[in-house]
Symmetry: none
Subunit: 216 residues, 2 copies
């Protein structure tokens, strides 16, 4: 695949020089995408090619047609970036995945990533982190309290103002099931109000603001 060779472990030697690193940036914030890309491209001693994606569809396409060495992705990308599922879909051992930390993120959600980059990292810091991840090997799983597909679907209807009964009717479920889902959502997120859920859904892009504006 890529021309970049991760020549084994612990090469203390100056990184890269063995070719261009291809970095994918997946974040819904255009400001972050462009800013991070600009910094990466200007890093001295690194030859970096950047591909930006703003949506999960674009990321899928990118993974299909590109040879990504490092994926930098917001933990909130596409609602919630399921890194475990992603790694199963794209079982590339050499692929490193870096979290872009911009807003509040649960500590647990960061464990599965090979590295974190936050908004206040400067060029030096980012360069150093790049050096680190290009040298290390393994990463292990950590089970997160993540939302299931159905739970995310339920949240979508809550944000649109549906009552539990209406959600049940829409999805052909018993209202008890909907209530159970909502109870599990509350437990996992520790968010106890519809308003809070709405904020969560917007911030984590489970729904689009423009998409729900019509429904209120």
């Amino acid at each position: 695949r890529t021309g970049y060779s991760r020549n084994g472990k612990g090469k203390g030697g100056k990184m890269k020089t063995e070719g261009t690193i291809h970095i994918g940036i997946a974040d819904s914030s255009g400001i972050i995408r462009m800013g991070l890309a600009a910094i990466l491209k200007r890093l001295p001693n690194w030859s970096i090619q950047v591909t930006e994606v703003a949506t999960t569809e674009a990321l899928k396409h990118c993974m299909k047609v590109q040879d990504i060495d490092i994926l930098m992705v917001s933990p909130q990308f596409g609602g919630w970036f399921n890194i475990r599922e992603f790694k199963q879909t794209y079982p590339l051992e050499e692929l490193k995945i870096v979290a872009i930390v911009s807003t509040m993120v649960n500590e647990n959600d960061l464990k599965s990533f090979d590295e974190n980059i936050n908004l206040f990292d400067d060029s030096n810091s980012i360069s150093q982190k790049l050096a680190t991840i290009m040298n290390i090997e393994e990463s292990e799983e950590s089970s997160q309290d993540s939302l299931s597909q159905r739970e995310r679907e339920i949240i979508g209807y809550v944000v649109k103002g549906y009552t539990n009964k209406e959600i049940a009717e829409t999805l052909f479920l018993s209202i008890h099931t909907v209530i159970t889902h909502r109870r599990n959502i509350t437990r996992k997120l520790q968010i106890h109000s519809a308003a809070g859920l709405t904020i969560y859904a917007i911030v984590n892009k489970i729904v689009e603001l423009s998409e729900v504006k019509m429904n209120i």
Copy 2:
């Protein structure tokens, strides 16, 4: 209105130059500075020149030697950006100051700014906000949807996930009063769910997304 124009059809303005807008970006995060600058420079229908500064010293120097039309600055810039003091030091009537909202910010800290830009604003949104701040002149109220001040205040707490009882305790009111306010809000807006109310509040800028994120 100002002389600044999209599409170059500017007419006699009160500001110095027609055509190009000079924007200063003051933020300690290089990612945000560069990302915001990249987006601004690529905005269609706008001609924008950007000056980036990372420190308060650089900002002072910039204000001395440059002709800034809009200053975009993080409320946390240099620890805390004292906008009142800044306006006294540089009494430029035409200077617009925009907050760059990246982390949690107190609502009060944003009031003094002419506009806010947050990380999740896309090009369109930023373009729209630019148009807004360059227009302010006849920006008087277009007769609000008749929501009273108290009602808007109540909505703020609803969005933050407060129950009616909690709102009553916070505002030293009877819960009956809070319920009455909420009934009137529901009647005026025809929005019958907390989720819908939350969307309304965000869209209509009664609350800032960045401000409530911390409360959920």
